[in-house]
Symmetry: C2
Subunit: 426 residues, 2 copies
């Protein structure tokens, strides 16, 4: 980092020693996983910079915004509409944590057989190493899975500004009504927090910003259909991860720059790996920074990742909000319509997701699909059996992998991935 942020971190209540340890691990992991890659687009330099300043400059930006009277809203899930947060002139930041840190402390408050993602955000909070959550004026949880839903009850004891939003479990009219009611309630909570009255103009502005970010990510996704692949799956994942943290306007511009560069590569037939490299689609649980374990294994085993069917990926960015309405009511309905389409495994039935994985596999010309489940994540783990069967029915090979944030199973995973790649090469 270019500047000394220690005073800022101290002011935020971080444990500097533990935080140094985390940054050390994160920096090394980033260097090993990303900087070591060959043929990276030059425009990825922006994301290298963002990552080098992830707890520095970006946090300073948040603190500067707060000093100007704006509020920071931290979220854990793609069901929380950024459009509403932006319409309230607040800053939205993603809080999901992807590292095994503070699990010992977390397991005093949670069952050991809780998924790593939940243990991680507890661990980060209890260890005082997450400047994002400490800089948040409101933290938004949601009732997606049993684990998060119940863990937030305990989390509220250590994060009093936690707001919990309900998400329905089916896609009937009463469910849409419930989601809309929750978005209306959330709008009121944001207005109360910020003192900003959310009107149609503000909503339209929020919708445009978030749609543009999605369009840039859609553009990136579409370019990955090329063979040779113009960008590694790791870099594409990183961009999708940074989407949750970064200033959305600057982020969108930076993604479009990457797209300009790789579009030129596609025209020239250039890529990061040789033409004909086995192509793998990843489908399943979200991967938050720095959860790069499985993608790194795949891309150092002779394959390339061509898409992420994930909240940190296409499940999270799919579909735009129709911003053509002229009233708050019409725009809220458009927001509800867009989010109600998300095919998260918390819904039942969830055939949309099964079909979408097939579409992605075909669009991105995948030779096989890796079904990634975070251990103890019931919705995705159970659904992976249906996904596997559906893929097999369509003649698409898949590999189910359950793992967590530890590094203990890296060798075993590499063996399984390599065996899978041997199969899909044929």
């Amino acid at each position: 980092m270019t500047t000394d942020y220690r005073q800022m971190w101290t002011d935020l209540g971080l444990d500097l020693e533990a935080h140094d340890a985390l940054l050390g691990v994160l920096g090394n992991a980033y260097k090993d996983t990303f900087v070591s890659q060959k043929n990276r687009p030059e425009s990825m330099g922006y994301f290298d910079f963002v990552m080098s300043e992830v707890h520095g400059l970006r946090i300073k930006e948040l603190q500067d915004a707060r000093a100007e009277g704006r509020k920071v809203v931290g979220t854990f899930c793609v069901f929380v509409p950024d459009e509403l947060i932006l319409a309230a002139d607040a800053v939205s930041v993603g809080l999901c944590a992807g590292a095994e840190f503070g699990f010992g402390e977390a397991e005093k408050l949670l069952p050991r057989n809780t998924c790593s993602l939940i243990k991680s955000f507890f661990g980060f909070k209890l260890s005082k190493v997450c400047p994002y959550i400490e800089a948040s004026d409101m933290v938004v949880g949601e009732t997606t899975c049993d684990g998060k839903k119940k863990a937030y009850e305990t989390f509220k004891g250590i994060q009093p500004n936690l707001y919990v939003m309900e998400v329905p479990q089916m896609k009937k009219p009463a469910d849409r009504a419930l989601l809309k009611s929750e978005y209306v309630n959330f709008t009121s909570a944001l207005e109360k927090l910020t003192g900003v009255k959310i009107d149609a103009e503000r909503l339209k502005k929020g919708i445009t910003i978030v749609n543009n970010r999605r369009k840039a990510l859609h553009r990136l996704a579409a370019l990955r259909a090329a063979d040779p692949e113009p960008i590694s799956g790791l870099d594409a994942l990183l961009i999708n991860q940074v989407a949750f943290y970064d200033n959305p306007l600057r982020f969108t511009e930076s993604v479009n720059k990457v797209c300009d560069e790789i579009e030129a590569r596609v025209k020239q037939g250039k890529g990061v790996f040789p033409k004909g490299t086995p192509r793998v689609l990843m489908a399943g649980c979200p991967m938050a920074v720095p959860n790069w374990k499985l993608p790194a294994i795949v891309e150092t085993s002779g394959a390339v990742l061509v898409g992420e069917e994930s909240c940190v990926g296409e499940r999270g960015t799919r579909n735009l909000v129709d911003g053509s309405g002229g009233t708050v009511e019409a725009l809220m309905d458009a927001i509800v319509d867009r989010y109600f389409q998300i095919d998260c495994a918390i819904f039942t039935p969830n055939d949309d997701r099964l079909n979408h994985i097939i579409t992605m596999a075909r669009d991105y010309k995948a030779d096989g699909v890796i079904l990634y489940s975070l251990q103890f994540c019931s919705p995705y783990t159970i659904e992976s059996f249906s996904v596997e069967k559906n893929l097999a029915d369509k003649g698409i090979r898949s590999l189910r992998i359950d793992t967590d944030y530890s590094q203990e199973d890296v060798g075993q995973l590499k063996t399984r991935v390599e065996a899978f790649l041997e199969v899909i090469k044929k």
Copy 2:
């Protein structure tokens, strides 16, 4: 069993050999756990008979009802209103399974780290040993926990007459609206199944029958406040378990006979265990037949169970439906009002349950509370941390136990229970 039911079981499609094996295990477990108890009320003879005929006479009754044109509706959860099923002149039977049977087959369709209850109903179905599900014209699942919600998607492939009902996760107005909408949908489905039009008179009749069953169970529960205990916790649990299977009118009469007998015992100061025996409340996951492992350990370790805060117990039977309304609309609202109060751990926040456990501990004069969680049941396991803390704040001792349906941990559990009893005796 008094009669040869083999032809009936064959007609239902059971695997006779596997079914014989199951009945053998069940019969021995019942003998060892229940018949061996001392000072049992004589009126428990009815329940011994019911259990001896659980796959015989009761199934014949169901088949006779079907031959007369009535329908059988199998359910997995106390959120499915028996009132509606009875109002449609159908027979309601509980389907939750409490034994480790067919898990090998179940684990081909489900992750290994799925709770035993879910694996059990898959195992029973796949092994063709459950006459209740085979005699059901409609099977009703529900979206309570992630495990069941997602497992039903797979279960539908082997149980095509499965109907899945949504249950909300919070207790706001939109949630009540969702639950009502689901009960209205379910009423339509029942009318379609049975050809019966559910009117106010039929609803009132259903409400009266189910309320009377609840009142008998409330009476039983209240009598257990006495010291010495007039009935063992095992026998009281058995009665609560049989409530899900038996003819409700005959069941209610039989429970009231037990109450008459133990009421006399209370007046005489007689009991099943000596006065002053340590008193334990059990709180947590439901225990379906023949899941008697933990209660048997407690009651053979020198303590008595004085209540079950469970779906198979007071959580399931608490609160009556107000049957005074004169219209279908008013009665449906009364049904929704009653069921919406259930303090299942799927709800967030769920302070009602924390408070109710305190109330039960005090009402039944418990010396300590055992918090029972089925392994991999996230809602109850995570909530047990809050329950434990709340009990500690009120000066009530508790012991958290996670277990499954296997017998492998019996020794270890007995050691932990005995140590806990030593502590609460002081």
